[in-house]
Symmetry: C2
Subunit: 193 residues, 2 copies
């Protein structure tokens, strides 16, 4: 677990309105468990009285980014839009939980700069490709291997691991709950909420 104190937040300050909100940016392969973590994390945060909102990559593709494809240019634009929405949420005091493959370092770094580095928590949802492919809950890897989906991250398009994520969760070894607790734990230094 990469846990850097400079990125830790004071929840009591957020709750009292003295601290800005922030973005939890979940990056990882398709099938690594980003969405499950996002939904569980949202529930945990809301349960503690923190307004939170999920920006889900799959939903984005059906709605805000329905006009975009999967070329490098379009992925860049998709991430730009997600970052813009995350910033809007933060400005409104809402914790933005972004669940997005976001395979390229440059795009994630652009999002980080746009949102503001101090409000951007990069969480690497780490799961080996072989495990993601084994899960293949939506049959996407099978289609990608058969060439039916182009530019599929991990198969026909690269995934660039974060060099220095604030938090790493290993979803092949830990449960969704454990991953979420790890994230909350990191956010709160050592005291779980």
């Amino acid at each position: 677990m990469t846990d850097k104190s400079k990125f830790l937040f004071n929840f009591s300050k957020i709750k009292s309105g003295k601290h800005k909100s922030f973005a939890i940016w979940l990056t990882g392969l398709s099938g690594s468990g980003k969405s499950a973590i996002a939904y569980n994390l949202k529930k945990m945060l809301q349960g503690r009285g923190f307004p939170a909102c999920i920006i889900d990559g799959d939903r984005l593709r059906e709605t805000l980014s329905s006009d975009l494809g999967f070329s490098i240019k379009d992925r860049k634009e998709n991430i730009r839009r997600a970052a813009a929405v995350a910033k809007m949420l933060i400005d409104n005091g809402i914790i933005a939980i972004v669940s997005l493959i976001s395979p390229f370092k440059n795009d994630r770094n652009a999002a980080k700069r746009f949102i503001s580095a101090g409000l951007f928590i990069e969480v690497f949802v780490n799961c080996p490709l072989s495990e993601c492919e084994k899960r293949d809950t939506r049959g996407l890897y099978k289609k990608a291997r058969a060439g039916k989906i182009k530019n599929f991250t991990g198969i026909s398009s690269p995934y660039q691991k974060p060099d220095n994520p604030q938090i790493t969760v290993n979803t092949d070894k830990e449960s969704v709950n454990s991953s979420c607790e790890k994230i909350i734990h990191c956010l709160l230094k050592s005291k779980p909420i």
Copy 2:
């Protein structure tokens, strides 16, 4: 005041999580007072424990829609994006307060369909053009009259008033507070929160 019972919401149900959230869509000329109403309304709702988020037209232009201009096509796309974000907020149990000139009926109707008619509260922020132009807080009307801004709503581009808004506020005659109270009042039938 056009106040239709079918559009009224049960706040207690929203608060208990038994009711979906909704969008308050503020439409009106530049300078009509949409932003002031949006910010005040958000404060009033948050003060009552309802998570709310403003989708502000001016901010959108600087962030999510920074790639768009003011042609009819681009305005349509801007509104499509605002509606997509509003839908995301609603799905996350957050009240979306949209403050957007949104001059064309067709675009507002498309947003209404996308969000779902029953969750879309159209608020006409009504203020005569002459009054908006007199206020001209940001000097935009002056620039538009001088031809320095193209496609400016009310001057060089039309504003189509809503035919049948759920709520109308007349900001040349009532204060921001009165307008917000009117909106809250309408949302709650006759019982103010």
